[in-house]
Amino acid sequence: MNNRLGVFICHCGHNIAGSVDVKRVAEIISRERDVFVATEYIYMCSSPGQDLLEKSIKEHNLTGVVVAACSPTLHETTFRNAASRAGINPYRLEIANIREQCSWPHYANPEEATRKAIIIIRAMLEKVRRNSILYPLKIKITPKVLILGGGVSGIQAALDIADAGYEVYLVEKESSIGGRMVELSETFPTLDCPQCILTPKMTELAQNPKIHLMAYSELESISGYVGAFNVKIKHKQTYVNWDLCNGCGSCIIKCPAKAPSEFDHMLGKRKAIFVPFPQAVPNKPRIDRDNCLYFKKGICRICEKVCDKNAIEFDQQERYTEVEVGAILVATGFKLYDISQIGEYGYGKFKDVVDAFQFERLLSASGPTGGIPKRPSDGKIPRRVAFIQCVRSRDPEKGVAYCSRICCMYTSKQALIYKQQVPDGEAFVFYIDIRTNGKGYEEFYTRCRDEAGVVYIRGKIARIIEDDGKLELYGVDTLTGRQLRMKVDLVVLAPAMMPSDGAKELASKLRIPIDEYGWVKEAHLKLRPFESVNSGIYIAGACQYPKDITDTVAQASGAAAKIIGLFSRAELMKDPLIARIDEEVCVGCGYCVEACPYDAINLDDKRRLAAVNPALCEGCGGCASACPSKAIMLTNTTPEQILNMVFHSTERI
């Protein structure tokens, strides 16, 4: 093919042009073989930039294009669409990344940046010269969604998607949905209680015929691809047949064995057969094997005797359900940093040093103390409470580097409610910075100081010791510049938010990337915040990073809209940049099957040939490098292309 190539160099304002001499690059590149036009423009992604691209393609009758700009994850699609509009095959356009890989890292060295930009563009020109004309693959979509996690984000998304008429499988690992939100006393800044605003949604969800609720269940395995995931769900043993159980609660009343309540964060008690809280959905009990007398000692079985429905099944086994879904929403939420790891605050051994969730339960009308906060040690009402912010948040040395975002606000709320419940009590908040960036948040914080009289002291607490039944704080007031010691009755810590237990394992099952802490990575923080990079897998809520309820619900509805959008199409277009097997050369050794991280290659034992499933292949190239007979090639990233790119990158300028 006779190539007629065009090169378009973006300034990206100062981002690229600040260090890369774009004019010189254009001039040098214009002298390259096959290049008919090489030009630069301030913002190639803008409307006039795209017009320039389209006009030039038509004017010079171009057959291939290199756009030298930012990372292809940002604007590859933008420019390929523009190329398509101008009449050339979109796969004949490539992005030369001269921003993230060139101008930014070499910002201080313009000469080097300019030289590198030329090299990168030359390499991409080599690629375009040999790029084939390709057409997108079409994939059928099963319009059902699997939602992992039944907290407020999972609930919101399930209702939104079901409202649009699509089926939802909601999988929750606990025996009730409601997540962390339902454990709260009240919510900031409106002081709505979750009983008022969340439990109605939970009931609505249970009654929606489009939603299949699978509580006390987990994702066992997954295969397939966007549009057609095959998922296997494990239903853990509840030892109660929920189909038979009518939720009368007789078994719970009669059960003689008690254990600390997880719902009350170990501050209250529950029975060995239990529902986590009265408004649980589904309102069906499960038996906790570790505390049940029958499982421990082989005696009792009272629950079985009192159950009219014969729903108790001590010999129940794990069950599995397999379903096909078109999309998956990850909404697995968060937990708090474990305060028993914090030495300077007593390793969780001081009973009156509690974490924020425990204090929520102590403030909750449905909590173990009926909403009047009492000390876990002696049941006395605390007259002096200290709240400590940023416990292992903003602490790259011993905890996590990030800000947990919600602690400033919930601490204000907790201090305010505490002052409402104990008007003669004193509340002190030890903080580093107060962050109130949300609607009504700053006003709420002011109300907490002004109306409730909460005292804010700027400075962190270095150490807590127990003394005479009180807690002594080793602190500082950095604003008056004084070291400070004080005795309080109760300390409430605001520990860092962390991804839920099991989030890492789940991410590896789903093959979605997570960051160093375990938060799920979004496809693009600003432009694609509802999706993971793995197509068909969406994210909502605090599994991505710390969020309050407002943001969580917004993201859940956003992700739901994305999923509804996906389902509204009958079939899906997929990039054809995948592995292809030369059947003449393949000997069926199966090395590629091992190498493929997406299970996209099958071995046909009869024909002794490997076959790529185009819907599953993500075009990573693992198989191509593993193939000993070089029978596999990646479309538009052939060995010939790569070698030529390397050759031209290493040429002297």
Binding site: P396, I432, T478
Partner: protein, 138 residues
């Protein structure tokens, strides 16, 4: 006199870059990571003896106003017990910064005390004498 009465106002002059860099170099620490949580001062066992709390010292250094801390008593009170460094969320070794400040003074031929005038040597453990010589004399 009115002109001198304005002493309460702190006029931030050009930052003393040279000394700031010197402190960074001698201590090997990243002064500008400090975000003033105060954890160092909260736990310091001798902060009550200092006219500048450790976190205040850090602020002076960030502002580039080095002389006041160089001439402070605080830097000589710190004995490097490491409570601050072991709790700093930003991993700043404040004890090293205090040592760097002392070192700059000592390298200007400053003696914090003259040991022979002060004590009868045989009254003290050798470790105290050696440490005092090393930490307090040029």
């Amino acid at each position: 006199m009115l002109l001198n009465g304005g002493g309460m106002i702190f006029y931030l002059k050009e930052r003393d870059r040279e000394k700031r860099e010197k402190i960074k170099e001698i201590s090997g620490e990243r002064i500008d990571r400090c975000y003033q949580c105060g954890c160092c001062s909260a736990g310091c066992p001798t902060a009550s003896e200092m006219e500048f709390l450790p976190n205040t010292v850090m602020m002076y250094l960030q502002e580039g106003d080095i002389e006041p801390v160089l001439n402070s008593r605080a830097i000589w009170i710190c004995v490097g017990c490491y409570e601050c460094a072991s709790r700093c969320p930003q991993g700043i070794d404040i004890a090293r910064i205090m040592e760097a400040l002392r070192t700059i003074k000592l390298r200007q031929n400053y003696d914090r005390l003259r040991i022979e005038e002060k004590v009868k040597l045989e009254d003290y453990p050798t470790i105290a004498l050696v440490a005092t010589m090393r930490k307090f004399t040029a």
